[in-house]
Structures are given as structure tokens and as C-alpha cells.
């Protein structure tokens, strides 16, 4: 295998796992409460900014633990004092609330930290290369990012499968009203799930903000792709979200590494000039950012329950 292929696969894996860390929380929230939380990516951004702020005081390692906890608390407050109040008005009111919240958080972040990027950097130990492949260093933080995401996947799955609360959550994912009838406090369960989901987004932000860039546009830019992961992965399935994240990460990365015009990919010769030639000459890398959304549309049409969903959307 060429080193470009290996690197592309590794990069795709790392990006996919970051996506998973970000969207796993939304999968839980969306499946359980039916709330299309537009502010989910804003929690990701908050995690990054709080991580940046805290790391100046406590250092990076403590910051990436405290920051998600704070974001989780903010998430709990949003659910308890916002979503629960408007719940009676139905999903549209909830959706509008999170929609407004996303803008609010973005403006607040700009007021507090300014409009340009902040200097949130990883500690040197994570920046050092883990190994060097054919002259390209592979930084440790990518491996670290993968490890954290896989660790969280394991924790969430074990929690859902084996603990009593986990079983309740699973039940409430499918039949929330029945669980309520049985005497369990479903609203409190909602708050907890919302908090955990937000905290996972906060964790993704604290790591992703340092690895990529921490700026006010980061939520807006990553927001839509999270919904793709949730829908393609399927309602109620953390594992589905995992697979969907990896597919999206791999597709995007490989499309860049092995770029060629569409006509060549489909096995045709060069279309020459004029007519639709320009369209056929669009390269794979240029359309790579569209592919997730294409996948979203196709999933909704042909397989509404996604990869591993428990019910149709």
C-alpha cells in the first residue's frame, strides 16, 4: 500500500472519530426527545472556548476534563429551564428555541472572546510526531483524538447496555410515554441525557478546538454535518452514528487524496470542451464536501431508519 493511502486512511479515521464524538450526544438527544437540537454544535464551540480559557489557568489536561463538565451543566440548564418549558407547545417551539440559542451562543462567544480565532494550542507532547511515514510526521494528537473517541464509544455502550439507568434510557429512546406510565421520572431522564449529550459535544470541542481552530464560525461550519451523521446512522443507535461518522470521514479524506475528474472515475475518456464538459470535469475533491449531504438525502429516501436505527425517522 502506498504511504499516501495509509495516511489518508488514518486521517479519515481521525476526522471520522472526531465527528463521532461530536454527534454521539446528538444521537441520544434526538432519538430520545425528538428535539432537533440546532445548538448542539454551539456546545461544541463552547467546549472549545471554555477549554481554551481554562487551559490558561489549569493547563490543557485538566481543562479538557472540566470544560465538558461545564458544558454539560449548561446543557442541563438549557433543558431544565428552556426546553422543558416549551415542550408542551410541541417540537416546532423546541426547534425554534435551540435555533435561537445557537445564534445567542455565537454572539456571546464573540462578545467575550472577540471575532477572530483565539490561540488555543495543544501541549508539546501531543504535537510531537507519533511516527514518521515516508517523511510525513503523524502527530500524536490524532492518535489521542481517536483513543478518546473510541473510549467514549465504549463507555456509552457499556453504560447503555449494563446499567439500570442505561436500560431506562434505552426504553425511553423507544417508548418514552410507556416509561413515564411505569412511574419513572422521564423529564429528569431527559435532562440527564441532554447534559451528557452536551458534555460529549463539549469534549469534542475541547479537543477539536485545539486540533483544528477555535473561532466563532466553528459551530456554524460543523453544525449541518452533525445532522447528517445522526440521520445516516439511524435514530437511537450510537453504533450507527459511529459507522456513519467513519464513512463520512473516510469519503471526504480519500476523495482529496485520490482526486480525479468525474469522467475518469466513471471510466469515460476526456469530454473535451463545451457543452457539459465542464460539469464532467469537476473533480472528486471539489464535490467531496457535498457527498455527506447527498448521503443524507439518499438515506431519507431509501432507508429512513439509517444504518442501524431502531425506527424510521
Amino acid at each position: 500500500m502506498s504511504s499516501l493511502l495509509i495516511l489518508s486512511l488514518l486521517n479519515g479515521l481521525a476526522y471520522g472519530l472526531l465527528l463521532f464524538l461530536l454527534s454521539s450526544g446528538l444521537t441520544l438527544i434526538f432519538s430520545m426527545m425528538g428535539v432537533l437540537n440546532f445548538a448542539h454544535a454551539s456546545f461544541y464551540m463552547l467546549g472549545a472556548y471554555l477549554g481554551f480559557q481554562l487551559s490558561a489557568v489549569t493547563g490543557f489536561w485538566v481543562a479538557i476534563i472540566i470544560s465538558p463538565i461545564l458544558v454539560g451543566l449548561i446543557g442541563a440548564a438549557v433543558e431544565r429551564f428552556g426546553l422543558r418549558k416549551v415542550h408542551a407547545q410541541g417540537h416546532v417551539a423546541e426547534l425554534l428555541l435551540t435555533f435561537g440559542l445557537a445564534f445567542l451562543i455565537e454572539e456571546v462567544v464573540q462578545l467575550v472572546w472577540g471575532r477572530s480565532a483565539v490561540n488555543f494550542v495543544l501541549p508539546q507532547i501531543l504535537r510531537d510526531p507519533m511516527f514518521v511515514l515516508d517523511g510525513v510526521a503523524y502527530p500524536t494528537y490524532r492518535i489521542f483524538m481517536m483513543a478518546v473517541a473510541l473510549g467514549m464509544l465504549a463507555v456509552v455502550i457499556v453504560f447503555l447496555r449494563t446499567t439500570r439507568v442505561g436500560l431506562l434510557v434505552q426504553a425511553a429512546l423507544g417508548l418514552p410515554r410507556m416509561v413515564g406510565m411505569l412511574g419513572y421520572n422521564v423529564p429528569r431522564l431527559f435532562t440527564q441525557v441532554f447534559a451528557v449529550g452536551s458534555a460529549l459535544a463539549g469534549l469534542a470541542g475541547a479537543i477539536g478546538g485545539a486540533v483544528l481552530v477555535t473561532e466563532p464560525a466553528m459551530a456554524r461550519e460543523l453544525g449541518p454535518i452533525v445532522f447528517v451523521v445522526v440521520v445516516v446512522g439511524g435514530l437511537g443507535s450510537v453504533f450507527g452514528a459511529f459507522v456513519a461518522s467513519l464513512i463520512i470521514g473516510m469519503v471526504q479524506t480519500l476523495a482529496i487524496g485520490f482526486d480525479r475528474p468525474i469522467y475518469a472515475m466513471l471510466g469515460f475518456g476526456s469530454p473535451g470542451e463545451g457543452g457539459l464538459a465542464e460539469l464532467w470535469s469537476v473533480s472528486l475533491a471539489q464535490i467531496a464536501p457535498l457527498l455527506p449531504y447527498l448521503l443524507l438525502v439518499l438515506t431519507l429516501i431509501f432507508r429512513p431508519r439509517g444504518i442501524a436505527g431502531t425506527r424510521d425517522l
Binding site: N11, S116, Y141, V213, P216, E221, G257
Partner: protein, 407 residues
Amino acid sequence: MKHVIGTVAVSAALVFAPMAQAEEPIRIAFVDPLSGPLASSGELGLRHYQFAVDEINRNGGVDGGRMLEVVPFDSKASPQETVLLLRKLADEGFHYVSQGNGSSVSAAIIEAVEKNNSRNPDQTMVFLNYSAVDPALTNEKCSWWHFRFDTEVNQKTAEMTDFIADNKDLKRIYLINQDYSFGHAVGDAARSMLGEKRPDIEIVADEYHPLMKIKDFAPYIAKIKASGAQAVLTGNFGADLTLLVKAASDAGLDVDWYTYYSGLLGAVTAMGDAGVNKVYELSEWHENIDNPELAAFAGAYKEEFGDDWRYMRVKFMFGMLAQALDEVGDDPAKVAAALSGMSYDTPLGQAVMQPENHQIIMPQFVTVLSRDVPNDLEGTGIGRKTIREFPAQSAVVPTTCQMKRPG
């Protein structure tokens, strides 16, 4: 004694100020994105405008004591919105419109101004462009009423490739640009000019990536590495530049970067030490140019806004506008005639608004990011250092403009 003089000056200003204000101020419409994703660069431009105008007003204004006033309008980065806005500005009697973010918006303004000025020859408008650099605006789309105060892509690339051509060790270069009109203009210009000046340099790739959508540039970096390039030329700005350079540094990619926008908002902060001694930029001024007048001006801005002064061309633009207003008064048709072909003495040398296409030529500098500089950007300890100076004349490039003077 100094105290007394100061007091006298202040009271004189107080006495004379009301007289100067008796006449209406000359209004300049600032049309740039003030909401949405590009709001931060729009607001940055607006602060520059207000600061540059304040300086002129403090020194007595223009045309025998009239003040200048900048009135902001939100273009929403949309040509359609801007065309509607222009109609409103014409109704409200604005003579001067200025914009810089987005060449598609500039093209729409040129068209709207042309239309207005041919229908209402008594109510003409002049368009001052401070940043939109698509070559078309001073070539096939050129207009008598449009004046560009920034060098366009072909001019920038001509100087940058001159600089690159001097690097005898360079054999393989990688072009990566944003997939839209500006990025393609940079890529095309670089390819043809390098081919002319240094046919021995192999252009190993001419890559275009989606605009402002890539979060992780690692896949591109792997490709650049695999290509064996020694240097990368890119017109990228904003996140597309910072993420690219950061990803390269993390992958240990050891190449030189030839850029146009690494001094913009947030870029140096995001790149940090990854950019030091690696990132070259072409610009009309930078914070370590040893010129007391401009340094004091930039320092006063930093004092007031806590942020670095970036676009010295905004100061030069208002200097030229003031010179025209002083000469001919507030008559847009006469101002346009005065600006066309105007020579203006900047503290760094002469700038000329070329009459054949209304494109400025001015001295420019190739810089490299360095820690070994007296002044830094964004408090990073990293600033720009001059590597090479280009006189205004080096920015002369051929134009296809057929300038039509009205009347």
C-alpha cells in the same frame, strides 16, 4: 510652555469647529458585510475607515474645512442586496460609495453605478474599491467610475513570482487555491507567470479546494508531501490559510509558503510558530517598516481599538480622495477626473492611479514572519520583516481595459 500651546490649540479647535461644521459633511457610503460569516472583516474595514477619516477631519477636513463622514451599510456579501442598496444610496444623494469584500459585489456596484450615472448625469457616483482584487474589474469590466486602491491578483502575482524566480534552489512548487473566481485567478496567473520567468520550476499541482469548507487539511498536506514540492503558493485567506499552515506544521512538512493574506485578522495567531521563517507575504505596508509617520498612525489606532492596523491602503485611499476634493470640490464627476491619473505621495513612495484602467500602482513589500522584530501582530511576538521591496512601477501589468470617459 508646551502646555500653553496645547491649550491654545484646543481652544482654537473649539472655536473654529462649529464654523467648519456649518456646512454639511461629505458622506462616503461604506458598503461591506456587517452581518453573517464575513462580518468580522467588514467591521475591521469600517474601523479602518473611521480612523482614517477622523485623522483627515482633525487636520481640518477637506475643501476648505468640510468634514468627511463614513456611513456604514450592510452589503450582506450579496450582489443582489447591494444593487438594491445602491438605488437607495443614489436616492439619498451619496456621491461616494466604497467597498472591498467580494469581487462579485464590486462587479454589481460597478454596473449599478454605471447605470445610475448614465441616467442621471447630474447625480453621479464614484466607486472607491479598497480590497476586491479580481483582475476583471480593471480589465474587461473596467469603468470610468471605479477606482481600485489595492493591487489586483495579476499585479500581486507578478511581483510574487519575481521574488520566487530569484530562488535558484526552487525546483518544484505546489499551487493550492480556493475554488472560486479569486482562487482561480491566482492559480492561472501563477502558472503562466512562473512558466515565463522560470520554466525550469515544475508546477507539481494546481489544486483547488472548496471555499471555507475544509476543517482538516491533513489530506492535502499528505498530497503536497507526496508531490515532493519545496514551496507552496496560495491566495488562501482566513481559516483556509491558517488551517492549511497549521496542518503542515503538525505533519512536519518543511516548505516555504508564498501568500497574499497571512497578515489578516487572526491568521498569525492561528499559525503561531508554524509560520515563522516559512510564510512570505506581499503587502503595501507592515508593522515593521521603519517609517515614523505611518508607525505613529498605526500605533494610535492600536491604542484606540486594541487591535493592529492592517490596511494602510485605506489611509492612502482617503489621502487621494482628500487631495481630489481639495482640488475640485465635492463634485463627483470632477473628483473622478481628478483621481484618474492622480499621483499621490505616500510616505513610502509615489502611488499612481493609472488613467488607462483606474488601477493603483504603489510600492509593495515581500515579508517573512519572524520572531526577531520590534513590532508584532496580535500580541504573538511574531511580526513581518521586509525581505524585498518593489517600487510602484513593478506593479504595471498589461490591461485590456477600453476606458470610456463620459461626455
